[in-house]
Symmetry: C2
Subunit: 411 residues, 2 copies
């Protein structure tokens, strides 16, 4: 595998630009919400490329599309892929890079006349973003058997239309049964933009993604007492705003003290009655905790929840908490992560291990086969935004790592 | 003065209840915004009582009303008073108690056949609350010469009407020149409900008000960077919400460490974009600092402002600050405060010195004559609310202190 084969980065960038014209919006972004006319047009373009390349294309009953390139033996394929649906004001790279990068790997092998032992597949999964239909990662969840097809098809979107009806309408309610069982995919590799600032900020070209962070979203409602800011001595206050502030600073402290991949964010904080001279009688706030390690995530939760209760009690403020979301971390296959790192080094790229802070189809596929992800930098960490950008040289680097890794895996 | 003369608390409470029927609203409160029809009706009722008692009533060009009871000598009068305008959902006691308490003192002296050496006056000042027209304490400010009459008359209210036009409309643009010069009032004593929880919470009946707190209102705008809560490591964040929280907790710390009469409140805090999983890129917040001592208030400002700048810098967050309001503290006449305290003790009441956290006409009058205030408890510290309540026994106690003090002052 030291033959120095490289993908054609320019061809890949041209395809990214061409797909980016489908559902294009002002500022260079795209809007291809799942199962809309724009999504259909994007699907048609990519499926057309798959057919041109001679792939065997199957569309399953949930609209997941898989293009397979035959191998020398009839084995479970090595799969690449991601998604091509976008958020309402999305970029050109999120998802699309993984799908078109996979096609570029196959085209490169075609050009070099190389046939791998195992088949190679490129997949795009329906509704990864979850902007129109909940849950996100719907296609891959059904693909691995974690979401019943009937439930997925019956899902109504933000506009009232159901997944089933929209699939039929755009012609992507395919004949194939949904998804695979364990063993039907040999391994899954997803090339993706980081969507965060770490690689760029630290000067790395390749991220070897160790896993996807577990997520804990809690909402706290603090109930204090509204009082006059001038006439109420400090010791007689029940200030919901103060307790909220103490929780916010403590959450940061926990993340700092725990270090590693622990992050903590109080993104939402709404104070009532929100007047200059009235002590706050109510605050609704959220705490977003994430870690790649479930034990550590639980520890962060325990510390923040305990502190919040103590701080509320100390101030004579009522506290209630509800869980808005809770997902356990997913660890990618250690051997694959190691290979991503090693290959990137072999190719002369600066590489670092890092977790993914966002969810991806790869974490779903990880339940049925060894899976991993290759990250390339997002300029300024921006994603889900028309300004999303990854440079051609980084795309070349990511595609080369993907090429070499799947060649290894496919033999 | 040890003759044991007491006011008729029942008569005073009846008058409070009767005035409370004018502009009555659901829940036992009143709405008599300055210079509305309801304010006129309230004024007419009180002026009627003044005339029944034989007082010489003057109405000045800003609608301030003064009723004078002759003394044995033609000297500057000892004045009692307050205001009878209310906020939109006000209580029956705020302001009204000081005016009707003053009338009750005169009625008690009438009943006892006592004529003081100095004249006694009862005043109510126009638009103390400032709910309809800014600034608050308008009538007393003009009375002492700190606000030009023309400016006051030209002031447009929240409904567009001007003070001058409304005074004319309700018949309270009086013929008398506005206000007094130094020396025209011998002393001013204002009986008022505390509007805070201290007296009730600590079991005191009478508050000897040492002064009115200085007020410092600052608005901070913090400008951070919006980032993904999952993908952005803690060290790369510029979290405006975290800086806001640190300022909030520090403001509390300053108030606690300084002790005394220092209070600090972050009542208003608005976070953007205010989403669970997005680091806040902007916060607008206020810090309300008050102290009875200008040097200490400046010290609190210095500490909070310096901390805010440091915290913002540390997080890489921009900070701008503007002053929304700044008033220096007013100290009431030390001798008068001492007499309030002593008289309350002589009458067998639990008394404590305390500052006023809210503004009052007395602080304005303090610039032209010795002034002081007598506080009685507000149930649960509630004011500017239909649930405002002060018990008949506390009203009796406050009226008795007022009676004895003005008899001393009037000789």
């Amino acid at each position: 595998m030291q033959d120095g084969l490289r993908i054609d980065g320019e061809r890949l960038c041209r395809r990214i630009a061409e797909l980016g014209q489908v559902g294009a919006i002002a500022g260079g972004g795209v809007a291809r919400l799942a199962l809309t006319d724009e999504d259909r047009a994007g699907r048609d373009l990519v499926v057309g490329w798959m057919r041109e390349m001679g792939l065997a294309v199957t569309v399953d009953a949930l609209g997941n599309v898989v293009g397979v390139r035959r191998g020398r033996e009839d084995l479970a394929p090595v799969m690449m892929g991601s998604h091509i649906d976008t958020v309402r004001t999305g970029g050109r790279y999120d998802g699309n890079l993984g799908v078109l990068g996979g096609l570029e790997v196959l085209a490169t092998l075609d050009d070099a006349g190389i046939v791998t032992r195992r088949p190679l597949a490129v997949a795009f999964f329906t509704n990864e973003e979850g902007s129109r239909f909940q849950p996100d990662m719907m296609g891959s969840l059904a693909f691995v058997g974690e979401l019943p097809l009937e439930k997925a098809l019956a899902t109504a979107g933000i506009d009232g239309a159901t997944v089933g009806a929209e699939l039929a309408r755009i012609g992507y309610a395919g004949p194939a049964p949904v998804g695979g069982k364990k063993g039907k995919v040999h391994a899954y590799v997803e090339l993706h933009v980081e969507q965060g600032p770490v690689l760029e900020a630290e000067g790395f070209t390749i991220g070897a993604v160790e896993g996807v962070q577990g997520i804990s979203w809690s909402e706290f409602t603090l109930t204090g007492q509204s009082n006059h800011a001038g006439t109420t001595p400090m010791r007689l206050r029940h200030d919901a705003g103060l307790v909220a502030a103490r929780i916010t600073t403590f959450a940061r402290q926990v993340a700092t003290e725990m270090g590693g991949h622990q992050v903590a964010t109080v993104g939402l904080l709404t104070q009532f009655p929100n007047l200059v001279n009235v002590v706050a009688n109510r605050v609704v706030m959220t705490v977003d905790l994430r870690n790649t390690d479930e034990t550590l995530l639980k520890e962060a939760e325990r510390r923040v929840f305990a502190f919040a209760e103590g701080a509320a009690k100390e101030e004579g403020v009522g506290l209630s908490r509800r869980t808005l979301a809770r997902f356990e971390p997913v660890a990618f296959d250690a051997a694959l992560v190691g290979r991503v790192e090693a290959i990137a080094r072999e190719l002369g790229h600066e590489v670092r291990r890092l977790p993914s802070g966002a969810g991806h189809d790869a974490q779903i596929l990880a339940s049925v086969c060894p899976a991993c992800m290759v990250f390339v930098p997002s300029a300024k960490g921006v994603s889900h935004n028309v300004e999303e950008y990854t440079s051609p040289s980084d795309i070349q680097a990511g595609g080369d790592v993907l090429l070499r890794l799947v060649r290894e895996l496919a033999g």
